[in-house]
């Protein structure tokens, strides 16, 4: 039984990370019905931004530097997210281009980011400096590290913060309004483009933090590290009901735990299979996901 | 008594909580030109969608030439001879005018025939072209036959959509606002063409229309829908003087 709980803790950390990335997917989908394939790479960029800053800091493990690393990762990925939206999607979105074009642009931007990363940093993985020295704790026969605790707690805190922003602030209100009826929002004088940028900024900031978290947790980064977690986070978003923010959070945790349990009790080589089987199953039989609201298909 | 070509019995359609059609019952005799009118949101297009099978009713049955078609998929109904046009034109916009017409002709040879360039393929393709051209000529679209459908002027596109529907060799033709967006002259000439066609193809036509002059001038019988219910049925003159219809269109006078 302790083995089971130990595995649950392992899964929880990844669940939190998937959830943080999934939120970005789901928010963007909610507003512009776009699967932003580049989102996984924003996550990667966040990790590398943290890496570069951490390299520059003299005292890597002091609290101010930890905060600085996280902040700079957040800022950089926020900036990147806004840039992607401005240069990549906005013109097509305004032109009401087919969604297929947007999807291909997303794929292209993803390729672009990955290969720029590869050119700058090379394909060989890099160790992330231990800005938070890891310590192990034991609780009975279950052991966990301070980093796991930090990852789980801070992802929860961030999710609560996000929920507050979305539910309680003016911008959050406007985001939900634009997602529900973009034209009507415009008729109320809400600047849609600013809201869209804000959405990308929020999602990207979370992805950036998730990037640093993964970097500290594993602790290794490479320019292709965003692909698989990106896809998994996307599966989480679909599982939770695409467009629903609480759904994305729930989906992230469910997928994180499910993957861990499959690797623990069946085989780790079936872990990736699981995510995609869930994806197909949800698409076919539960298209609105766990928490999404069913939408009748339009004629 | 002769069986009507279309019989709709007690159709009820619901979208979520909203009742779009409520116990709608009517029938259409062969060769008739029936008009359906009613204010916005009265359920006219939903009625067409139900007859063609795009929407399935919660209650009620639909008979076409005496056959119950309530549970048939749309493409089978089309093959039986129910064709329609759409309110906002649904042409295959990147296909040529001629191909738009040919599409409605089904697959007259085995699908592998073109792979091996079989004679049946060449023969049938030739036949299809010939009948497509004949149809295009009828609708004065022949000069445009190699153009992409979306490159046609609006009026021509409207006519192309009707021509495409006719290529199905339908017995029943449903026209959803055929004259919308046309000038008065264009509308009248289109209706004249339809009148000719109805004779030529021995067609039954149901028409949704807002242009009352068109409806009054060409339809033999009118049905008025409001809030998903039939509120009046009769000749154009009867409808024009029916107080319920006036009220549906102009609003409740008495309440003010």
């Amino acid at each position: 039984m302790s083995l089971f709980f130990q595995q649950l803790i392992n899964g929880l950390a990844w669940g939190g990370i998937y959830a943080l990335i999934a939120i970005g997917y789901t928010m963007v989908y909610g507003i512009m019905q776009l699967i932003n394939f580049a989102h996984g790479d924003v996550f990667m960029a966040g990790a590398f931004a943290g890496y570069v800053i951490a390299q520059l800091l003299p005292d890597k493990s002091s609290l101010p530097s930890v905060i600085l690393v996280f902040l700079s990762a957040m800022l950089f990925s926020t900036f990147l997210g806004i840039l992607i939206e401005r240069l990549g999607y906005r013109s097509l979105w305004k032109k009401n281009a087919p969604r297929l074009s947007l999807l291909i642009v997303a794929v292209a931007i993803s390729l672009l980011l990955e290969n720029v990363g590869l050119m700058i940093f090379g394909a060989a993985p890099r160790s992330f400096p231990s800005i938070i020295p890891s310590r192990s704790f034991s609780l009975g026969s279950i052991s966990f590290t301070n980093i796991q605790v930090i990852v789980i707690l801070s992802s929860l805190v961030l999710m609560v913060a996000l929920q507050l922003i979305v539910m309680r602030t003016k911008m959050g209100r406007a985001m939900r309004a634009v997602a529900e009826d973009s034209e009507m929002s415009a008729l109320l004088g809400i600047p849609r483009e600013r809201i869209l940028s804000f959405t990308f900024a929020l999602g990207s900031a979370l992805a950036g933090v998730a990037g640093v978290m993964v970097a500290i947790y594993t602790p290794q980064i490479n320019p292709l590290m965003g692909i698989l977690p990106g896809l998994k986070a996307f599966v989480s978003a679909v599982l939770g009901g695409i467009g629903s923010i609480p759904g994305a959070m729930l989906g992230g945790f469910v997928l994180g735990e499910a993957e861990t349990l499959v690797s623990a009790y069946i085989s780790s080589s079936y872990r990736d299979l699981l995510a995609f089987l869930i994806l197909i199953f949800v698409l076919l039989f539960l298209p609105s996901g766990l928490l999404g609201k069913g939408v009748a298909e339009k004629l | 008594m002769k069986e009507p070509i279309l019989r709709v019995e007690g159709i009820t359609v619901r979208f979520g909580g909203l009742v779009a059609l409520k116990e709608v019952t009517f029938s259409v005799e062969e060769g008739e030109l029936l008009g359906i009118i009613g204010p916005n949101g009265a359920g006219k297009t939903t009625l067409f969608n139900t007859i063609t099978g795009a929407v399935s009713p919660e209650k009620g049955r639909i008979y076409f030439q005496g056959k119950d078609i309530t549970s048939l998929p749309p493409h089978k109904r089309a093959r039986l001879g129910i064709a329609r046009t759409f309110q906002n034109l649904r042409l295959f916009s990147r296909l040529t005018v001629e191909d738009n017409i040919k599409l409605a002709m089904g697959l007259p040879y085995p699908a592998f025939a073109p792979l091996f360039s079989l004679p049946s393929y060449h023969k049938m393709e030739k036949q299809m072209s010939e009948s497509a051209i004949a149809l295009l000529k009828t609708f004065h679209l022949y000069p445009y036959r190699d153009r992409i459908a979306s490159a046609l002027p609006y009026g021509e596109r409207k006519r192309l959509e009707i021509a495409r529907a006719l290529a199905l060799k339908p017995k029943l033709l449903l026209l959803d606002e055929p004259t919308a967006g046309l000038s008065h002259q264009e509308a009248i000439s289109l209706m004249e063409e339809l009148k000719e066609l109805r004779k030529g193809f021995s067609l039954t036509i149901i028409l949704i229309e807002h242009n009352m002059r068109v409806v009054m001038g060409y339809c033999g019988r009118l049905i008025t829908l409001n809030y998903g219910e039939i509120i009046a049925e009769g000749t154009p003159e009867e409808i024009a003087n029916n107080p319920a219809v006036l009220q549906a269109y102009l609003g409740e006078e008495s309440l003010c």
Binding site: D181, L187, G189 | H210, M216
Partner: protein, 233 residues
């Protein structure tokens, strides 16, 4: 106050408005009538900025607003209540109202008070999701939301659509009140011609995208032409 000068509006290649000119005067209720597809909604969309005319000019308080973005028009005092109410169903009534006040943030408190005095029923439902309101309440919310931006010109698109007759009367009662007490100029588009002409000062009749008739409400009420525009004959 609002002047349309010879505008042509197209949907793709379909012409919806043909050389339309009309003028709405300060403080009046103007009813735009016409059958389905005559171009009424299109006219409103051109005024609010959802559609840009291919030809012609639109002036609001003597300023050319033909190409202004939607948000700028809202700031200048044009507010549209679109057809079908379009309240944000997944947001609460309060959130809907707050969003309505996006451009007049400082006045939100004051405006909310005004709204509550106009539509007391909304005050009781502040925390309720707008999607769970009844049709009439949604229409009220939709109008109230538009009022939150302190419009000088309110565009109403088919406010009676899909409402039971008694509710329709209520809504029109509110519309008149807004006009009389708050001094808001109103352009209302209605299929329900009798109702609209009851409260309007002036009106116009659209047919096939052209304004074929204009006059005072009383004149229009008795015109056979209005009837025939709807029913032909």
């Amino acid at each position: 106050m609002l002047k349309l000068e010879g505008i042509d509006v197209y949907y793709d290649s379909i012409q919806a408005l043909r050389n339309l000119s009309l003028e709405v005067r300060e403080g009046e209720i103007y009813a735009l009538l016409g059958a389905n597809g005559a171009g009424k909604t299109t006219t409103l969309k051109a005024i609010s900025g959802l559609l840009i005319p291919r030809k012609g000019r639109i002036y609001f308080q003597n300023e050319d607003i033909t190409f202004l973005p939607i948000e700028e028009r809202v700031k200048r005092g044009i507010s549209q209540v679109p057809e079908g109410r379009r309240v944000f169903g997944k947001l609460t009534v309060e959130e809907n109202l707050l969003l309505g006040g996006w451009t007049k943030e400082r006045e939100i408190k004051k405006n909310l008070e005004i709204i509550f005095s106009l539509f007391p029923v909304l005050k009781q439902r502040l925390r309720q999701l707008a999607g769970t309101l009844s049709g009439g309440e949604q229409q009220m919310l939709s109008i109230a939301r538009a009022l939150m931006s302190e419009p000088r010109l309110l565009l109403l698109d088919e406010p009676s659509l899909g409402l039971a007759p008694l509710l329709v009367r209520d809504i029109f009662h509110y519309i008149r009140e807004i006009n009389e007490e708050r001094g808001v100029t109103i352009l209302v588009v209605e299929q329900n011609a009798h109702m609209a002409l009851q409260i309007a000062h002036r009106g116009g009749l659209l047919q096939q995208g052209e304004l074929i008739l204009e006059g005072s409400a009383d004149e229009l009420k008795n015109m056979e032409l209005v009837k025939s525009a709807y029913l032909g004959g």
